[in-house]
Each structure stands twice: as C-alpha cells, then as structure tokens.
C-alpha cells in the first residue's frame, strides 16, 4: 500500500472513530455502556424485601439508583448487584441520607420478599438505603417499560432482560443509564455526586 493509502486510513480513523471515543456514551472498561437520558419516571408501589409496602414517591428529593435484575440470574445480574454494593459502600454517611438504591426484580414469579431478603443479605446490602422490590407482574411491567427495560420470560427462573442500572435525579428524571454488566462504581458515584451538587446549586424557588 502506498503512503497515500495509509494516510487515507489514518485520516478516516481520526475523523470517524475519534469523536466516538470522546462521546458521552463511550463504553466503560467495566463492560457497561453509559447513556445520558432525560426520562420522567412515574410513581409506583411495590413490596420490599420484608414484605412491606414501598412507594417510589417516598424517595422524593433523593437520588435513586435503580437496577433491574433477578435473583436466580446466571448471567450479568450478579455483577450488577456486586457493583451496586460497591456504590453503597462508596457513599459517605451524609450521602446515604440523600441516595437510595433500588433493586427491582425482573422475575416476580420467583423473587418473593423472602427470596429477595436472602439475596440482599448474600451481597451484604445495608437495607437502610437499599430496597429490593417485587410486585404484581402488571405493575412491574409498567415500570420496566418506563425505564426502557425489555423483559422476556424463557422459563421458570430464567429471564432475558435489559441489564440496566439507572440513576434517577431528585425530580424523578432518569438521567443516566448503564447498560451491561458491572457498571463502574466510581462512574456511578461520580454521576450521583454530580446530581447531588446540582440540587445544591439549583436556584431557590
């Protein structure tokens, strides 16, 4: 190949691949892709790992990290939940008052409260600001759709679903989504802190 050919290839790489490298949606080393969004999240009511009613509206004013997994998932869910645990550990005492983690099941058939409780304990979850939610399939379906999560049951305890970890801001807008296994805890914490500081700098009404 002539020097002109090589020059053309290099220019194409610089001008085509270059912008993708710096785009907001560039894949992270973790294996999860970060997406920026602005989707309103509707209120929902489920039951938590203790079988107690849980209302999303009760988290108003907090940043909420929502992960969609199921407990018998042999695929990426364990990696997502392990990352979420690292996020929880990485939050300071004051931040824990302003941030809540939610694990929403994609398999309500199996994931009853006692199963979710055992699952949370296995990952060392602090249930003070981390809830594991299940509910009626029809109600769950609305929430999955609201977050853009596709769910397809393949068999008992076997579900195909979008591996989403989402960050919802204090005004219930979905702002960031991580699609894939192992969302980078540092990146998630960075996004959380950006949203917390947004609130501090927001003009008073």
């Amino acid at each position: 190949m002539t020097w002109r050919g090589w020059t053309t290839i290099i220019l194409v790489l610089v001008f085509v691949a270059g912008p993708y490298s710096f785009a907001a949606n560039a894949p992270l080393k973790s294996g999860a892709q970060r997406r920026v969004a602005s989707t309103p999240i509707n209120d929902f009511r489920f039951i938590d790992e203790y079988g107690a009613p849980f209302a999303f509206e009760s988290l108003s004013g907090r940043v909420v990290v929502v992960a969609f997994v199921y407990t018998s998932c042999p695929d990426v869910c364990p990696l997502i939940t392990a990352s979420l645990r690292q996020v929880q550990v990485g939050l300071g005492a004051e931040e824990r008052q302003k941030v809540h983690l939610l694990t929403v099941t994609t398999d309500p058939e199996i994931d009853q409260p006692k199963v979710l409780l055992a699952y949370g304990k296995r990952y060392g979850a602090d249930f003070a600001n981390w809830s594991f939610l299940t509910g009626e399939p029809t109600a769950l379906k609305k929430v999955w759709q609201n977050f853009g999560v596709g769910v397809k049951r393949k068999g008992r305890g076997l579900v195909d679903h979008t591996p989403l970890t989402a960050i919802v801001d204090q005004k219930k807008l979905l702002r960031f989504g991580y699609v894939g296994p192992s969302p980078d805890p540092k990146a998630v914490l960075s996004d959380i802190r950006a949203l917390l500081s947004e609130r501090l700098s927001a003009p008073a009404h």
Partner: protein, 143 residues
C-alpha cells in the same frame, strides 16, 4: 444369596438410565455455562469479568459430597446465584450430576465410566429426604 457386580450394575442402569443425558446438558447450558465454561473448567464467557475466578470442577468437586454440592447449588456462593426456589429438586439433581460428570473430565475416564450408573443412582436418591433434613415438599401455599 450372592449378587454379582455386573447384574447389580445392569439393575441400576435399568432403574435410573445411564450417564449424561439431555436434561443435564440443558440445565447446565442454561444456568452454568456462562461462568463455568463448557467443560466446567471455570473458563466461561463471563469468567473474565468476575472478581474471583470460577473453580475448575476437576479440582474442587471431587472433594465434595453430594450434599455439599447440592447446598452450593441451592444456596449459592459468592456471586453464584442461589438456584432454589427457581429450580425444581429434579433439576438441581440434574445439575449436580452434570457437575460430577464434568469433574471427571480429563481423568482416567474409562476407569471412572464403569461406575457411571452407580454414580447416577447415588445422585438420584434424594438423600436430604432420606436422611430427614430436606425441606417439606412444595405445596401451593409455600410455592
């Protein structure tokens, strides 16, 4: 009355079928393959992403009893999910047997295969129920 080894073996083969079957392959492919790999050597597609490498069954399973393996399958360990209540007891037994078979890969297979039927027979006995420490059978109420 003395019963020879081979008639006993044939009896067990007749009783429980013989060796690795499609059910075992299916449950393994659906639930284990992504981390443990096709031969149970801990080289599945997701293994590289795990903080701790999945074990090579040839190194670990041989030292464990069926009850110990069953407990890992039902309760989970580390990032491995708990497969109870998602899997039925029969499926858990299939998974257990598959893990046993894979643990013998690369060994003196011909020698071990003489005992496949006995191993399958042993694994097919619900020891937890026989020994009295199994959960009560599933009903509509506790499903």
């Amino acid at each position: 009355m003395r019963i020879g080894f081979w008639p006993l073996l044939v009896f067990f083969m007749f009783l429980v079928g013989c060796g690795r079957n499609e059910r075992m392959d299916t449950v393994y492919a659906e639930r284990c393959l992504s981390c443990h790999g096709p031969g149970g050597r801990g080289d599945g597609a997701l293994a590289g992403m795990l903080p701790v490498a999945p074990p090579d069954f040839r190194e670990t399973v041989q030292r464990k009893s069926n009850s110990q393996i069953r407990r890992v399958i039902t309760e989970g360990r580390g990032l491995m999910p708990a497969f109870e209540p998602a899997l039925r007891p029969a499926e858990i037994t299939d998974m257990l047997q598959m893990v046993r078979f894979l643990s013998r890969e690369g060994r003196d297979v011909a020698w071990w295969e003489r005992f496949d039927a006995l191993v399958v027979a042993h694994c097919s006995i619900p020891w937890e129920t026989v020994l009295g420490y199994d959960d009560p059978p599933e009903t509509e109420e506790n499903k």
